[in-house]
Symmetry: C2
Subunit: 275 residues, 2 copies
Amino acid sequence: MTKQQLIDNIRRKRSFLCVGLDTDIAKIPQHLLDLDDPIFAFNRAIIESTAEYCIAYKPNLAFYESLGSRGIASLEKTLEYLKAYHPDQFVIADAKRGDVGNTAEMYARCFFEKMHFDAVTLAPYMGADSISPFLGYQGKWAILLALTSNRGASDFQLMRTAKGDRLFESVIKASMQWAGDDAIMFVAGATQAEMIADLRKIAPQHFLLVPGIGAQGGSLRQVVENGMNRDCGLIVNASRSIIYADRGPQFDAAASQAAAQIQSEMDEYLREWDL
Amino acid sequence: MTKQQLIDNIRRKRSFLCVGLDTDIAKIPQHLLDLDDPIFAFNRAIIESTAEYCIAYKPNLAFYESLGSRGIASLEKTLEYLKAYHPDQFVIADAKRGDVGNTAEMYARCFFEKMHFDAVTLAPYMGADSISPFLGYQGKWAILLALTSNRGASDFQLMRTAKGDRLFESVIKASMQWAGDDAIMFVAGATQAEMIADLRKIAPQHFLLVPGIGAQGGSLRQVVENGMNRDCGLIVNASRSIIYADRGPQFDAAASQAAAQIQSEMDEYLREWDL
């Protein structure tokens, strides 16, 4: 999906919400457990009940990998379903990968060609040649961890370099030499809203993937005030607060309602920003 | 596996070699492709022909994930095989993961409880709470990326911080507050041999996992001179130069010979260091 298509989707659907498909077999409703593939059944129901309120889905691969080959099969079915029935959704592999050249190439082929993800999250620690294999695909995206939403973000990401930048700022500046804002996005946690403004000074045009609202406690308004640009420039993720809004038989209606509520708040912000 | 067991294995087998199971369906001998599970068949043959010369195996998960659920099934079978027939081998998940707390916990359970790996490689960018879930398991190890063997290592890992350290040195110092040398190892690329000496000044007791000899061109002698300590303290990995030593029907004999040659060189170094 190109940047313009993403922007068009946001304007048309009045939403910049991403639903995190962090599907945990221990947390899905009891009645699904008798089905052949409970993980896929849950995902399909969540997608059907939230698709009108969001523009993106983001499976965190850990949840699928932790179930072994069976979990990966559920993920593959979820992706095929999205591609067949919701081709306008931007689908992000939350994989946080980062490996040397030939292994990175293998991951890129896996996520972009085999599984048809639009984007993949990547850890920048290993540098340019761990990222560049993801940058040669038209309409596909590398989303670099810059400023994450967890407490440990302060251990290294906020460390001052000898040049006076914080490490996350060095990561952003370096990556801007590798590709433009049509191929790279950055992760910026909602729990670090005031620092999103600093990030915007370096990367005014880039889209940001913002986790941390909902269960993690970040404020959507603060994210918008610090991070929105004239293209919107934000994809804001919520996972647990939507997919586990209710854990009984009405889970899908509850998810729908939770997503609709965020979408309606987003619509207001988009109007405030004349979008 | 505890640190003492690992040291005992190294002394007994006169080897600190790790064989990297970077098994690529496009590179394995033709005659295996007709089998039910060519990846597992290849791994089993490689393990049988190299086990006497090495003390560890390291599947890079990218190679299995890139084949989807089928690839993960091959990996699971390989691990079950190792556990059943070679329980004295130290088995490393080369996963380079790094994610927030609850996801990291899920990965730790997956690699240590479900798949019975002894160790997992982790990217440190997200800080303490992305690593600590891996540190509570007796006899299991977190192997942190410190100084990698690729060119991009210089982009961030060698960056000077305001305190005067390079980033990889800050990572090592910080992680030493999280756990001791019985739970943490560091990745240090053989292509950076002179910097391994700097790393040793900070972490004299830790085991180092050293990729980059063989196909990547690092020198085993230089690694030993800069990195060996009185426990050996090194696990040196070779992948392609062993598993693809010959790509015809005699691949296993060729792998055996390639591993034996490295082991014999390692035996010499161990004797030079009175081990």
